[in-house]
């Protein structure tokens, strides 16, 4: 391999590879499939090189003595490497032509053993009661690179424990290995530098400035990047051991950003949500407000679990098929234009596609969704608090969400609209309708995950799955198509909204061979031009750019890209 363009040849553990100029040694190793253990290094943060865990042996071409000829390159253009007797950190050094890196061998291994022994010297070793156990770099590297014993016979340094550093975070300073990732995150990403090291030396202590709180809406990301159990989430601590939980890769639905997340669940209960890296959507981060907004899903008291049919003004529990049959029987009586639909921009594209089918089946003229506007936060949160407004535009064909709801109200009052289907929305709480407005209707059907005032007013109530209980696709603010994957089952007779709509259509007389969300996606891909040629598999875990919405990337991502371009971070 001759040196071409900007590629540099580097030998890693005896094998030659080529990498772009400027690549950090640690990244070169990663790309070559060789793991270099590290704590302080994080590709989205600056590299202080303070943990020393990534020490490797480095070699360079030998420098000829004066008068001596340089070494002869072999047929690949490589010269023999002369190894340095001292190690270097792989995280903050970049590669050079004909460089050699040894991640194994006596020097590297003794370095790692030494660093591990020093890190563990003051560590409390309280893994049995530590939340990080099972996903702790200190545990993992201790097994892989540690000595298995300690020569430290002295007293461990005592440091503050169970420190309330912010409304959502607790700190155990004795577990801290001083990697400073959290400090750098708060400085560089959250722009709220409240953390620092005080009493540097043998008593180095991670601290919040007295009187201040770590209360940024992005604070919980520090818990994710903490390689040990020093920072723990008040919400998750002591709730569940990490190895018991099932991980589901899905997306956040609290706003149009469509943050990629992992849902951790066990036996139908959600315990934790963490951000999943996607450099086109949310980098490695997510806001605390979105992360912690899942508890209502587990709260069965507030959930609709069975279909309800109103008889003589009172809701009675019904069987699902009974409820569908009753709804269909009532709906068949109306003429064209007398039935209206309010769908939801929280629905998946597949559900919206089924809504369209139902719309033609029932000859619906009035169709809209509920708009949710909020304030963008200059980081990741979009001002559109619906996750799939772009899907509503593209699949449902509603271009101005929420614009015709006032007209609908009038049409209900005038008797023009006699029946209303409210799918996955609560008109009374979220769209300015009153129970009085809905009273004029002859028939009202609603599907929703929780009990709500609109359901109280409805003739038929169907428990419809929430975002964590369904699969499908959504389009985020920038036009990226992303997959939502079912993490847990809905309670009782809860069904995914597309199943409810499918069954309603079937009962109304329109058969279709749909058995899964992927079946719908196939039809969607065939019928909606933007989706033409796409398969479920094409979307992948990182999503795929589907349409141009003209929306800019979230400001946090724009800032991150500028830092990558300036070489400050790897990205």
């Amino acid at each position: 391999m001759a040196e071409q363009s900007d590629l540099i040849d580097v030998e890693i553990d005896g094998v030659w590879h080529s990498f772009p100029k400027g690549t950090r040694m640690i990244e070169a190793c990663r790309q070559a499939g060789v793991e270099v253990p590290h704590y302080c290094y994080h590709p989205k943060l600056s590299s202080p090189g303070n943990c020393r865990m990534c020490l490797v042996q480095m070699g360079m071409p030998p420098r000829p003595r004066p008068g001596e000829d340089p070494p002869e390159p072999d047929e690949d253009g490589h010269v023999p490497i002369s190894w340095m007797p001292r190690p270097v950190i792989a995280c903050a050094n970049t590669i050079a032509p004909n460089m050699g890196i040894r991640t194994t061998g006596e020097l590297t291994e003794t370095c790692r053993e030494g660093v591990m022994e020093l890190m563990l010297a003051n560590h409390p070793l309280d893994c049995p009661i530590c939340d990080q156990a099972g996903e702790c770099s200190l545990q993992e590297f201790s097994v892989e690179h540690g000595k298995g014993e300690s020569r430290f016979r002295e007293q461990k340094v005592k440091k503050p424990k169970n420190v309330d550093v912010g409304p959502r975070i607790r700190l155990d300073d004795e577990r801290c290995i001083m990697c400073s990732r959290c400090i750098r995150f708060m400085d560089e990403v959250a722009d709220d530098p409240v953390l620092g090291f005080t009493d540097r030396g043998s008593h180095t202590t991670l601290a919040v400035y007295p009187g201040r709180e770590m209360d940024s809406n992005y604070s919980l990301n520090t818990v994710d990047i903490c390689p040990v159990g020093a920072l723990t989430s008040n919400d998750f601590r002591f709730q569940m051991r990490v190895w018991f939980m099932k991980e589901t890769q899905t997306i956040d639905t609290n706003c149009a950003t469509g943050t990629n997340i992992t849902v951790y669940s066990r036996q139908g209960q959600i315990y934790r949500i963490t951000p999943r890296q996607n450099n086109e959507v949310n980098s490695d981060w997510m806001p605390d407000s979105h992360r912690l907004s899942f508890h209502w899903i587990n709260d069965l008291e507030s959930r609709l679990t069975d279909p309800l049919i109103k008889e003589d003004g009172k809701h009675k529990l019904a069987d699902y098929s009974q409820a569908i049959a009753y709804a269909s029987q009532r709906l068949q009586k109306y003429d064209a234009g007398e039935v209206a639909i309010v769908a939801s921009a929280r629905m998946t594209n597949e559900e919206l596609y089924m809504v369209n089918k139902l719309k033609s089946q029932l000859d619906v003229r009035d169709i809209d969704v509920v708009a949710r506007r909020g304030e963008a936060d200059n980081y990741l949160i979009s001002d559109d608090r619906n996750p799939n407004t772009a899907g509503v535009n593209t699949v449902l064909g509603v271009k101005d969400p929420g614009a015709s709801l006032d007209l609908l109200k009038k049409d209900i009052a005038s008797g023009k609209v006699k029946a209303l289907l409210v799918l996955q929305e609560d008109l009374i709480s979220d769209a300015g309708f009153t129970a009085e407005d809905l009273k004029q209707l002859d028939f009202l059907l609603t599907s929703y995950p929780t009990t709500n005032p609109t359901a109280d007013a409805a003739d038929v109530v169907l428990p419809g799955a929430c975002w964590a209980e369904k699969s499908g696709t959504m389009i985020n603010a920038t036009g990226r198509l992303q997959r939502l994957n079912r993490a847990v089952d809905g309670p009782g007779q809860t069904l995914e909204p597309w199943e409810i709509i499918r069954d309603l259509i079937q009962e109304l007389g329109g058969g279709n061979g749909i058995y899964s969300a992927t079946d719908i996606f196939k039809q969607l891909a065939a019928e909606v031009s933007e989706f033409n040629g796409l398969t479920w598999g094409d979307i992948g875990d990182q999503g795929t750019q589907l349409i141009e919405t003209g929306a800019e990337l979230p400001p946090l991502l724009q800032r991150e890209r500028a830092r990558v371009a300036s070489g400050e971070i790897i990205g």
């Binding site: 530098p193 409240v194 620092g196 090291f197 009493d199 540097r200 030396g201 400035y209 201040r212």
Partner: protein, 164 residues
């Protein structure tokens, strides 16, 4: 509470900051020295004043203050004594010297910790702490009283008499 920095001192500090044109952060140490010299110690208000002056977050100043044993976070007495406890002085009797000074000056060191190293006499006249090597290993035990250096200290009464 804000720090009451006299105009003259602030003028001096402002001038010192101009010595660090690349980054104001570099001026943390000189600014803190000025403040400690004037106020006797670095209070929380002094940390916040410095942070505001240098456009830093207070935690970044506190990091520096807590790193250097030379910066005090509590008020010292009228005279501040530093007794060397590094090897040569320790062998020459600096721990005994410390005990003797404390006894004669009425200082109770029982509340001293790693994070709070200074003890002050009940009358506020003397304060004392251990220091690391004061660079006179041949003439131990040595101590500093404010900026005065004392070698081979044996007669504590005579020492304290000079500082009334």
């Amino acid at each position: 509470m804000t720090l009451d920095v006299p105009a003259e001192l602030e003028k001096e500090i402002d001038e010192r900051i101009t010595h660090y044109p690349v980054s104001k952060r570099s001026a943390v140490l000189p600014v803190l020295h000025h403040l400690q010299h004037h106020f006797g110690y670095i209070s929380n208000e002094a940390v916040e004043w410095t942070a505001a002056k240098l456009e830093l977050e207070p935690i970044k100043v506190l990091e520096v203050v807590t790193f250097y044993p030379g910066f005090r976070q509590t008020a010292p007495g009228k005279y501040h004594i530093r007794v060397c406890r590094t090897l040569s002085c320790a062998m020459a009797g600096s721990y005994e010297l410390m005990e003797s000074i404390c006894e004669k000056a009425g200082i109770d060191r029982s509340g001293v910790t790693h994070h709070d190293p200074i003890a002050v006499s009940a009358d506020g006249k003397y304060s004392i702490e251990f220091a690391e090597c004061l660079a006179s290993c041949g003439t131990g035990p040595v101590c500093l009283v404010d900026d005065d250096f004392h070698e081979k200290v044996e007669d504590v009464d005579a020492l304290l008499k000079q500082y009334q």
